[in-house]
Amino acid sequence: MAPPEALPRDRVRLLWPGGRSESARLLPLGKSGGAGEVFGLEGRPGHVAKVYHAAILAQHRERYERKIRWMVNHRPELPELPSGPEPVVQLAWPVAVVQCEGRFAGFAMEKIDFERTMEIDYLLTRRQAEEEGFAVDYGRLLTVCHNLATLLHCLHRQRIFVVDLKPVNLKVYKTELYVSILDCDGFWIDADGFVCEAPQVTPEYLAPEFHDRNVADPEAQDRFALATIVFRLLNYGIHPYAGVAQPGSPVPAELAGRIRAGYYPYGISPHRQIRATPASVHDCLPDALRALFDRSLGRGAQRVAAREWAQALAGYASRSGGMLERCEHGHLQFPEKPCATCVREGLLRGHLERQRRLLTRLQATPGRAARYVRSTLRGTHTSPFQAALAQGQVTAVQMTPQTASIRNTLSVEIVWVLGLAIAWWWLL
């Protein structure tokens, strides 16, 4: 076995599917994670290589090599995207094995352009998204949710599961709104006779039945994590198990404990022991989506599959679906529901007003102000408005999720109409 300090070497060998191999030089990018380091590849600007840390390889080389070799030769079918001027990488899927000194060292994958993408986490705290030049509105959020559900559905159909599905592993293309999933080498695969489980999980996105034990049903886990992410995207980053415990109730403080015990306060029927965070706008979401959240995050019901999410969100994601309308302030809102953006802005204004009043009280009557603070603290476990304050206001400009330009679309449609008219005429 090579000594631990032998990796990574400067030069590696890339083994492509079909037996082709080539030598390549690694270019340091300064990106290192728990399992390995990501390098650029000289002469291959569209690819990067992940080289596992020597300590990881010393323990798991055989398992990693078996999995990566299978993945390189079994690229999953993904949702077809309209071709645009620049490619969209939906999965950081291994495309070639990386060998160092004749031994397995990692894999090469298509490069996700970090200039064109941002972490989906930024959509949860919207100020960061705006700093990235991404104007958040419900049309765009629903499109991102739909694209994520569609991608996940495609993987599930091929018996490939993410398991450790969480926002930090997801990137979103700022213009096209497509989603990329990172860390594909951690996926659970159960396809074509090949089985490889995924040991990595994140408690905040782990389904209740898998806390304190191994994940036994990866699809159920992915369904739970998907619902959690969609909920957070549509509810200003609020986790579906974050809430305000009723006084005297035994609600755990940490999210993992609440998930395990099923303290979900955003159901259509309210929970007795925990109530929704005051900053939540879940009441502004359509009943159909709330029913899906209840099925996925509540107790007892069959969790909603990625396909069902994709179908439910498709109408909202399409501009022509007509399932979103503009409120009087120009925000996109769900029909027959209060405008979530206006409600949120009202909550923020109310909070600022309360904060101003509190400061006045503190200055005028310190004794009364102290009692006010105590009563406030007793009623809440956390300060739900802190996150809300950090997120600022939302712009009202709706950007198109279409990738083709209007002119290109018109050109194609003109040709189509002429073609159909010709066929019509020819049949006379």
Binding site: P79, E80, S320, A404, E413, I422, L428
Partner: protein, 178 residues
């Protein structure tokens, strides 16, 4: 050439010029090109015998074969394009606004190819086994199918594009935001 014909030709030429000027500047799949060529050939045929042949008639008996030729041409393109390494042409017939996986497009492509092949055969069966009125009804059904395609594109593409155009216009008229 009458004035109406001249106007029609001018409008068509303008549309084609616009389509060419605004065409997507990317590699176009050959399946889509094959569909366009097929429509262009049918158009040339119709143009020749409809307007330019100066009294020359189409070959006798061809009228009954026309729906079959159209359907079987479409079926042939649907089958041939993927076999030659191109994408599934059904994507262009239905529209790329649907998000399906490659496998789903494959089966839809095959399904439509079989459907078109069967419809082409049914046309011949009706044309030669039933009276002219029945066959006329079937041919009318073929043309209604094209209306269905138009309806699909109106719902999923044109309305969306119109909304985008209107939004762009509103943005332009309302001026820059403070």
């Amino acid at each position: 050439m009458t004035a109406a014909t001249a106007i029609l030709v001018a409008v068509l030429a303008a549309c084609l010029a616009l389509a060419w000027a605004w065409r997507p500047r990317k590699r176009i799949d050959r399946g889509a090109i094959a569909l366009d060529i097929a429509f262009a050939l049918l158009g040339a045929w119709a143009l020749w015998f409809g307007l330019l042949a100066d009294g020359a008639a189409e070959p006798a008996g061809l009228a009954h074969w026309k729906p079959t030729i159209l359907y079987w041409t479409l079926a042939a393109i649907l089958v041939a394009a993927p076999a030659l390494g191109q994408l599934h042409p059904i994507r262009y017939i239905l529209g790329t606004y649907f998000v399906f996986s490659r496998g789903e497009w494959k089966w839809m492509n095959l399904g439509f190819a079989i459907l078109f092949a069967i419809l082409g055969a049914v046309n011949l069966y009706i044309a030669y086994r039933y009276d002219e009125t029945s066959w006329g009804g079937f041919k009318w059904g073929c043309r209604i199918n094209f209306l269905f395609l138009i309806l699909l594109r109106i719902s999923f593409v044109w309305m969306d594009t119109l909304a985008r155009i209107l939004e762009r216009l509103v943005q332009r008229w309302s001026g820059p935001r403070p």
